[in-house]
Amino acid sequence: MVEPLLDIEDLDVRFSTSEGVTRAIRGVSLTLNPREVLGIVGESGSGKSVTALAVMGLLAKNAKVTGSIKLGDRELLGLKDRQMSSIRGLSIAMIFQDPLTSLNPVYSVGWQVEEAIGAHQDLNREERRAEAIRLLEIVGIPRASDRIDDYPHEFSGGMRQRVVIAIAMANNPQIILADEPTTALDVTVQAQVLEALKVALDESHASLVLITHDLGVVAGLASRVVVMYAGRIVEVGTADAVFYSPAMPYTHGLLGSIPRVDDDGGARLRQIPGSPPSMIGTRPGCPFSPRCPLRQDICLTEEPELRSVASSAGSESHQAACHFASDVVSMPIASMFPNSSDDQEGLPE
């Protein structure tokens, strides 16, 4: 058994707002192994980004975090901001969603890469500059030594995201958290940026947590996948297990909502009716039950635990939070959801 690099245990994040307490994360436990790519998927508001920000200690001040986040043997929760600063960027680096806004417009890209290097390493100016050029070359900036003094506005979106990746790997972090790294980019550029990310991972031997709502991105990169819904993990397993034998109706719905090459042409995409529940207050039962076509009485009263899926083709590491996981796993993907052309009556919002 490999010692996990990052061990999140029973993480709970609440925000006190004027409308009440929002429970953004409810009892999330997950581990990240060395040199692993872990995908976290889910729709907006499912708690993906909050999980990442909690690990970085960058949540807003009104957040109340309980549980445990361990980096190796070190507990990160409860560390002072100063102590966290020595971990941020050095052990755990983060890539943000929008490369247009995550670079400072008034400095050259070289300055910003050098700043990242200088934050944790004691190098002189020439060494920093040489290192910055090396990093920019790794992530695929052509003629990096010429372009190092250019400003972010002189780069395209994909090029900027490469710079952001170079900044993230500047101090050879153990973990890179990528929060929707390709969402703001063109589909054609996405593949290039993911390629740059792969190269960066090979180079720095880092583990990657890839947060996205794009299942295609996860499928290409991740070895293990976590599916989040309403602040909880509802399914976790190897990418193969989650993609080929999902054991949670929500995962079925996600997979059914993306176009497939092997589909017979003309078929409409299947959609999950309704929208995610409000996170304010608590209500009994499975949070997905209002949108679930397999809903039974037990779903309305009892929230299912995350349990191993016995009959899964994957392995015992495949877990799902559904009372009927063993039935769901054997169903053809997405067949339980209606085509968008079908009548959707009877499913409450």
């Binding site: 008034v106 695929g140 593949a191």
Partner: protein, 309 residues
């Protein structure tokens, strides 16, 4: 496969806009300077301002005591010997006006410096930390804002007027009461800047609060700060002239344009040169500073800062 095609695509993109790039697409400051230099009004202001400053400086350096030198040429109109005439005790008006210009600029620049330093500091703390710190600091700003400058100066005039270098104390008092505008402006800039992703990103890199404020946020707010510093310069010149006119500002034998206007107003119809020339210089000084400020505002306009968004 993906990798090869990606680097090819990239190479072409790179070629397009790096070799034939002129300085329009260069760094932000090059663009700002370029726009300022091509703004006729701004350049007129800048040239007029520096002309007045340089002429005053050279003249005063060559004739350091001329502004107070008495002569028997009382109340002379403009002539070859005294191109702006003389006053009732025979002092050359040109020397007094040029000395007054220097004095006004000296006061105004010190006021602007105090305002920028104090205002940026207070505004940065309030905007960056928010919450209680913001609340306390902004209530303090409100308090300073409602203190009437004239009342304070009338109260302090007995003390300030007797000091030897009283322009210095005057500038400190004006500065201590006029930083609030820049503080509110910097706070507002910081409130929007701190939500920007690159601030979050540098925090994710392990940057300290101080580093984020000084290296990332202030450089992004520097445009409005500079513009308002020039407006503060113009405002301080006006305020100093007002105070001197009321007898609360610069005290004789030192001169300022406001003081000269006050001394010359009674004879504005008979010995017009005593009033018109100082007033004209004051006007030119203020207008040129405003032109500079307006040109800076246009040049620093963030909507024009990027060639491509």
């Amino acid at each position: 496969m993906t990798k090869k095609s990606s680097s090819e695509t990239v190479a072409t993109t790179g070629d397009v806009h790096s070799d034939d790039m002129d300085f329009n697409a260069r760094g932000q400051w090059a663009m700002v300077v370029h726009r300022f230099l091509h703004n006729g009004q701004a350049m007129t202001g800048l040239i007029a301002f520096f002309l007045m400053l340089v002429v005053s400086g050279i003249y005063t350096a060559l004739h350091p005591n001329q502004y107070a030198a008495l002569s028997i040429a009382f109340n002379q109109g403009p002539s070859a010997a005294h191109i702006f005439g003389t006053n009732s005790i025979g002092i050359d008006m040109l020397a007094q006006i040029l000395k007054g210009v220097l004095q006004d600029v000296q006061v105004a620049v010190l006021v602007a410096a105090i305002s920028v330093v104090v205002g940026t500091f207070i505004g940065a703390l309030a905007g960056y930390y928010g919450g209680k710190i913001d609340n306390v600091l902004m209530r303090f700003v409100d308090l300073v804002l409602v203190i009437p400058v004239l009342v304070v100066l009338i109260m302090l005039s007995q003390i300030v007027a007797q000091k030897a270098n009283n322009w210095f104390y005057l500038a400190i008092i004006i500065g201590a009461l006029s930083w609030t505008y820049i503080a509110r402006l910097v706070r507002a800039e910081f409130l929007s800047l701190r939500e920007r992703d690159f601030i979050e990103a540098s925090r994710a890199l392990g940057a300290s609060d101080w580093r984020i404020i000084s290296r990332h946020m202030i450089p992004n707010a520097i445009g409005p700060i500079i513009v308002n510093a020039t407006i503060t310069v113009a405002g301080a010149i006006v305020l100093e002239a007002t105070l001197s006119y009321l007898g609360l500002g610069i005290q004789p034998p030192a001169v300022s344009l406001g003081l000269l206007i006050e001394q010359g107003q009674n004879s504005a119809t008979t010995e017009y040169w005593l009033f018109v020339y100082p007033a004209a210089f004051l006007l030119a000084l203020i207008v040129s500073v405003f032109f500079i400020g307006d040109g800076l505002r246009a040049a620093l306009d963030p909507r024009k800062n990027r060639v491509r968004a």
